[in-house]
């Protein structure tokens, strides 16, 4: 029963991905869907950290920025091949995360929030100030992604690439959370001391998942950069970090499919509100509040509970 149950949602996602291209009327909607996919992967990684392990990060956009700018700067200024740049970005993000993680995860709650927020802001300031390389606040164009002489261009291609990444991430996340590793993570969320006394080295697990989500973010930062063909530090600012957390919470903490729903809805929302003429901000705020009041656990878990099903 577990098996089919576990992957039910995965098949659903696969089906959606397969039929979507037939329903998409024009390039704008394709673009929107691709952005949803990219965000979904990032939010998935963040949810492993916030939702499953219960460790907040308010600076994750910083890691996206690292990936995005590695992808923009290294090929443009140093002639690196894009793929190498992408890996370098991921490595940089991972190393930075690993380096700060130990001290940072001695902190809890709002202090942890503060520390991660600071980290993100520092990264953003660096990106803004090193204009010589990053183009400063105005950002810079990004060369197309090429690998073994093949160049990715055209939104269709990106659609399938992002979809593939998304599928793998969803599958891996489900597996991970139902493995000894994942249980240990969720356990330290539930009770750190309980996890410790059964042998979980909580610091090591916090660090590992933090690094992992940072790498996720960096990789997708690179993908965004290549896809959009342009990067600006706004990609790495505080507002974007909050946006991502919002996706996690609205979709549903500790819910793989919540991450997807959250990413899809909140990527579409600004487009939907774009025509509200100055009222976007108000509308967005109201929607956030209502979501939290009427489904504090997030859309997917709340609905799942309503339908009497278990949490995916």
């Amino acid at each position: 029963m577990m098996m089919t149950r576990r992957y039910l949602g995965l098949y659903l996602v696969a089906a959606t991905i397969a039929v979507l291209p037939l329903l998409i009327p024009n390039g704008f909607y394709l673009d929107l869907v691709i952005r949803m996919g990219i965000n979904a992967v990032i939010v998935l990684g963040l949810n492993l950290l916030i939702g499953f392990a219960g460790q907040i990060s308010m600076g994750h956009a910083g890691f996206i920025g690292i990936g995005a700018f590695a992808t923009a700067v290294l090929p443009t200024h140093f002639g690196w091949p894009p793929f190498a740049a992408l890996l370098a970005g991921a490595a940089a993000a991972g190393l930075l995360a690993a380096f700060v993680a130990r001290p940072i995860f001695r902190l809890k709650g709002h202090y942890l929030a503060m520390a991660t927020l600071g980290l993100g802001i520092i990264i953003n300031i660096v990106l803004r100030n090193e204009a010589k390389y990053t183009g400063g606040p105005d950002g810079m164009p990004v060369p197309p992604f090429t690998l073994l002489g093949l160049t990715v261009d055209g939104d269709r291609q990106w659609y399938w690439i992002v979809s593939a990444i998304l599928m793998v991430s969803v599958w891996a996340s489900i597996n991970l959370m139902n493995s000894p590793f994942g249980r240990a993570l969720r356990a330290l969320h539930g009770s750190e001391v309980a996890a410790q006394v059964v042998g979980v080295n909580i610091t090591r697990y916090k660090v590992t998942i933090f690094v992992m989500s940072a790498v996720f973010a960096s990789l997708m930062g690179s993908v965004t950069a290549h896809y959009v063909g342009f990067v600006s530090p706004a990609l790495a600012d505080f507002g974007h970090s909050i946006e991502l957390i919002t996706m996690v919470v609205v979709g549903g903490m500790a819910s793989v499919f919540g991450s997807l729903v959250g990413a899809v809805l909140l990527t579409a929302l600004p487009q939907a509100l774009a025509t509200f003429e100055g009222w976007e901000t108000v509308a967005f705020g109201v929607i956030l509040i209502l979501c939290m009041i009427f489904m504090p656990r997030g859309l997917v878990p709340t609905l799942a509970a309503r339908l009497g099903g278990r949490r995916p």
Binding site: I50, I56, V100, P103, I104, R106, L107, K108, G109, H110, Y111, A113, M114, A115, L117, G118, L119, I121, I122, I125, V126, N129, V193, F238, I242, I245, T246, V248, V249, V250, M253, G278, W279, E280, T281, V282, A283, F284, G285, V286, I287, L288, I289, M292, I293, P296
Partner: protein
């Protein structure tokens, strides 16, 4: 170069005092409900914007300013009633999102209603700078510093000497217990929100002659206020003010001695170090979790 040093210090204290005022708001609400209210900055903005609006509308100061404090105070209570109370006890992250939602609503409404331009207020005691050992300080800065000092004392008295204040503290430590001894925790929640909203607005009015204000001024205050409150140690009024001044002074010295381009990053680096060695901030209470 003592004059230079002193000038940087004055600058730092001026900025720091505005951060401190913001941080105090965080402290009050945190003490009463363990909520970090990311909308605190918006109350500061409200104070400034409304003061400008009412004075431009021709109301005399004695009417305009109280109004500019009263309305945010009511807004604060409303926010508590409509957004916080329905989800009390939810996860930290959820509460953060809700307060962010509230801040968006306030900011958005002001932007639609009062527009996007920047505004200023006349300084309370003139624009004539005070000269001291070769450095200068605006009288308005003294207003801000003075009022922050008074507020800390008032808050200390309120939370440690008055029944209401103690009731608030009790609620934050243990809601159930507080209810058992007959404290109306719902009321405490509204009380704390409207109190910190009112104080925030007051601060907003005080700083506007120095910092100017606009619909989006609250973002900066909210962020820096949160930082200051955490560095000082959440829930500690004195800590909030020290934290605020610290951040301000570090920024000023950073800009003056190191690099104006990186002055905003410098405080964060230092703060990270402080937190690494003092995980609960400068004045935070150490808690050993019972098992």
């Amino acid at each position: 170069m003592f004059a230079e040093f002193l000038q940087f210090l004055f600058s730092g204290l001026t900025i720091g005092a505005t951060y401190a005022l913001a941080a105090l708001g965080f402290t009050i609400i945190y003490n009463a409900s363990n909520v970090i209210n990311f909308a605190q900055g918006e109350f500061i903005m409200l104070g400034g914007m409304l003061a400008v609006y009412f004075t431009d509308a021709g109301l005399p100061m004695p009417v305009a300013l109280p109004l500019a404090v009263l309305i945010p105070a009511i807004a604060g209570a409303l926010m508590a009633r409509l957004t916080i109370e329905p989800i009390k006890g939810a996860e930290t992250v959820t509460l953060i999102i809700v307060t962010i939602g509230a801040s968006l609503v306030i900011r958005g409404l002001i932007q639609v209603w009062l527009g996007k331009a920047s505004h200023g207020l006349p300084a309370f005691s003139g624009e004539k700078p005070i000269r001291l050992l070769g450095a200068t300080l605006m009288p308005q800065s003294l207003w801000v510093l003075g009022v922050s000092a008074l507020l800390v004392l008032a808050l200390w008295y309120f939370f440690n000497r008055t029944l209401t204040g103690k009731a608030m503290l009790a609620t934050s430590f243990n809601r159930v217990a507080a209810e058992l001894v007959g404290i109306n925790t719902g009321w405490v929640l509204f009380m704390s929100f409207s109190l910190s909203a009112g104080l925030g607005a007051l601060g907003g009015i005080l700083v506007t002659p120095i910092t100017l204000t606009s619909f989006d001024a609250g973002i900066m205050f909210g962020l820096k206020g949160f930082v200051a409150a955490v560095v000082g140690g959440l829930g500690n009024g004195l800590g909030a003010v020290v934290g605020g001044l610290l951040v301000g002074v570090i920024e000023a010295f950073g800009a003056g001695y190191l690099s104006s381009a990186y002055k905003d990053a410098i405080p964060f680096v230092l703060i990270l170090f402080i937190l690494f060695f003092m995980p609960r901030g400068l004045f935070g209470v150490k808690i050993t979790d019972r098992v």
